[in-house]
Subunit: 196 residues, 2 copies
Amino acid sequence: MKQHNDDPKQRLIDTASDLLRRRGLNSTSIRELAKHANAPLGSTYHYFPGGKPQLIGIAVTQTGQRIGKLLSKALAAGPVAGLEAFLAQWRSVLLQGEFKAGCPVIAVASDDSSAEGEGVPLAAAAEVLQSWVRLISDRLRERGQKEEEAMATATLIVAAVEGGILLCRAEQSITPFDRVAKLLIQQLKQQMSEQA
Amino acid sequence: MKQHNDDPKQRLIDTASDLLRRRGLNSTSIRELAKHANAPLGSTYHYFPGGKPQLIGIAVTQTGQRIGKLLSKALAAGPVAGLEAFLAQWRSVLLQGEFKAGCPVIAVASDDSSAEGEGVPLAAAAEVLQSWVRLISDRLRERGQKEEEAMATATLIVAAVEGGILLCRAEQSITPFDRVAKLLIQQLKQQMSEQA
DNA sequence: GCTAAGCTATGACGAGTGTCATAGCAAGGG
DNA sequence: CCCTTGCTATGACACTCGTCATAGCTTAGC
């Protein structure tokens, strides 16, 4: 079967996500990317004629969908369960990457790259973030929250998690994330009980 | 008097903060920086023998102190007033920069640059973030919150604000920030009333 | 006026960047 | 068998990067 490991194209995408997490957008070069993916440099432009912006855009979108699927499944068991899974996911990324690895979406959003076709990755990042917010807020609305309230809560969750990841990267410690996580869960539980 | 505008050194620092906000760490080059600051390239290494890491580090620290001072003053009128000032500050940065400008501290924290003396800027970023958290949490403790609770609340605030800034950059809109801000204030007010 | 210190101007260095063109290879269908 | 099609290998293009050395200028103090 054609799987991750013998499909150079997919390997390039995965490597892009990984490098994006650890180095950021502008510190991730096509050459280094190809080397890590065990793919020839020339192949990059064969599989991705749109060049770096296209590859990065795809990597961001794909990572977003992967996490979105995980989030979606966990949310089926309720908003709190969904949040807990979302948090656990990021916590493990931070720990396994020893606080060098963050979120590829953040990497794209912080680096400008306001060049030519470079709006592509940023647009991908925006859509991923919005999709996460939508997943959570939809579930909150099913639990009786009003539209705007649900959007606010979901946005706060995503913002706080991404921000927490940044704090951990900065001070090389999991503490900020754990503090943020504990409070988010506590507040969400409280909101749910008020609704019931 | 020797003021901002005729001191090349200070002008370089200010320009560094500005470029950091808008372009990110690795997209901010010394050459561009010097040009924007109307300073000769050679002068950069005269004033900052430590090169780019030193200049970036100073810019981050200085921006952090500026905002820290503002935050500190506003906190004197109470935690809620402090939060409101903090939020207003960032909101105006986002609007004035048309969502292209974020926080220099975030820029440094997301970009790796795990090179040689490059731990310097990251350490500066960490200290700035911790100082903001400390300012807020100290004030919360004075209002009766326990150490850990105060730290958690303060960390959530900083993380959510920085995360909110990222969301706004991504989707080129102030909406995420406003949602986050509203909820943060509402929750803090509630915490304060419970304490009283 | 003259010297000393502080700053600027200029240009180079090696390395790295995204991008692409072209020549080569392997394998599959006719 | 040949020959098309899909991929790889190689190397070049025109930059830009951080950094630094050195020579020149300006200005203040004696």
